[in-house]
């Protein structure tokens, strides 16, 4: 019998090691797996490389992980969202490395990593500072740059519903990077507001098939960054 459920976020992140590369789902607060991130802060792993579209807001979730100085490098498309102060302060103080990647290139690099494609060519960023130092090649009279697939040790994502086999459905624009990140890590950990038995979900509508998911944690009422920030929360 397959049952990928873990009893708690704490147990699900227990083996994340110092220096690990971790993909964290979310576009702004939509899809941010706050409970898994908070469990990772409690767990204490450091020297992490984080792959995530943004850098968090306020003093909770991803911003709290950065504030705890557990992250040495972030791979990101847009680290300066309104309400984001932790990353800018760390960056200006030289305490965190930033690899800035165009959003579509970031998505495709993760997709490629998960699909066993080591690198690909794209015209995105040609002629810009983000193409500097990258190999380029002309296809059909147009210059393209070589971008490499990304893989990670762990992925942390948030689903709406998961089953015991790790099949996942998402909520609206919270889906964003999660389906690709699920494919690109050695260990993919999902927090889901609802967890059901295998067979309860219609196979026609599964978004992330369970083969890509290793651990499922039931988080019935996940916190939202905006609500925590309005309440003046900080973690820990």
């Amino acid at each position: 019998m397959i049952d990928k459920r873990f009893d708690s976020a704490r147990e699900a992140v227990a083996d994340i090691f110092d220096g690990a590369t971790i993909m964290i789902g979310g576009f702004g607060e939509a899809g941010s797996p706050i409970e898994l991130i908070h469990a990772l802060i409690d767990q204490g792993a450091k020297g992490l490389t984080v792959v995530s579209n943004n850098s968090g807001t306020g003093l909770v979730g991803l911003a709290a992980l950065l504030r705890a100085e557990r992250v040495s490098k972030i791979v990101c498309s847009f680290p300066k969202t309104a309400g984001s102060t932790v990353f800018p302060d760390l960056y200006r103080a030289g305490k965190i490395e930033l690899e800035l990647v165009p959003q579509g290139t970031l998505a495709e690099r993760i997709r490629a990593g998960g699909a066993g494609i080591v690198a690909f060519y794209t015209p995105t960023a040609v002629g810009t500072p983000l193409a500097q130092g990258k190999e380029s090649r002309v296809f059909g009279e147009r210059e393209h740059v070589l971008e490499h697939g990304i893989r990670a040790d762990f992925t942390l994502i948030k689903g709406r519903t998961a089953d015991t086999h790790g099949n996942v459905l998402y909520h609206r624009t919270a889906r964003n990077f999660a389906p690709m990140m699920a494919t690109a890590a050695t260990v993919t950990i999902v927090q889901a507001a609802e967890v059901v038995e295998a067979g309860a979900l219609d196979p026609e509508i599964i978004v992330t098939p369970g083969i890509f998911v290793d651990r499922v944690v039931h988080v019935p009422s996940p916190a939202l960054e905006s609500a925590l920030n309005e309440a003046g929360a900080s973690y820990p």
């Binding site: 959003q103 002629g127 810009t128």
Partner: protein, 224 residues
Amino acid sequence: MISATTTGWTRDQIAKRVAQDIPNGSYVNLGIGIPELVATHVPAGRTFIYHTENGLLGMGPSPAASESDPELINAGKRRVSMMPGAAFFDQATSFAMIRGGHLDLSVLGALQVAANGDLANWSTGADDAIPAVGGAMDLVAGVKRVFVMTTHVTKEGEPKLVQRCTYPLTGRAVVTRIYSDLAVIDVTARGFALVELAPGIPFDFVQERTGAPIIQNHALETKK
């Protein structure tokens, strides 16, 4: 003489002018900020389908408080609604729409646009700036037509339409057409070309505020 009250188009009037040039049924991505106003000026009888790169096709306006969902947002992270026929998808699919040439139009803001269509709209390159690019480089590289909506000059009065961009580029030779408060200007193989002046704005007034020559009678000249 230009009177001190010469103002050209307001932001809403620019948005309305952009909307006039978008065919019915177009799939459109509106950038954050001033381009978002285009959605409020859709001409009667036309429907545009809005793409937001964080994973929604069929984006609708700001929702009523009762229907507001923190996980139903646009690329600017503001809460939005969904129209009948909307679809959600992941980032790889969303950028396949952009990078695969499936969207008809991208409307973006600008820091600078060059006469050859180079666009700079993500960074001034200042030492203390936090670099952030989002999907802009993907949009300009992949979408068939790229419209820029911008004030003609900066707050300091410097031209934003220039011979060569001095800020870091978003993309090379990517802009199709520029809509400013003073004029509509095409980017052509020969440089900037006037399409239309805002009411009451003389051509010389626009040229004086532009950092590169504007072809005034492009349509006539290309017919020769």
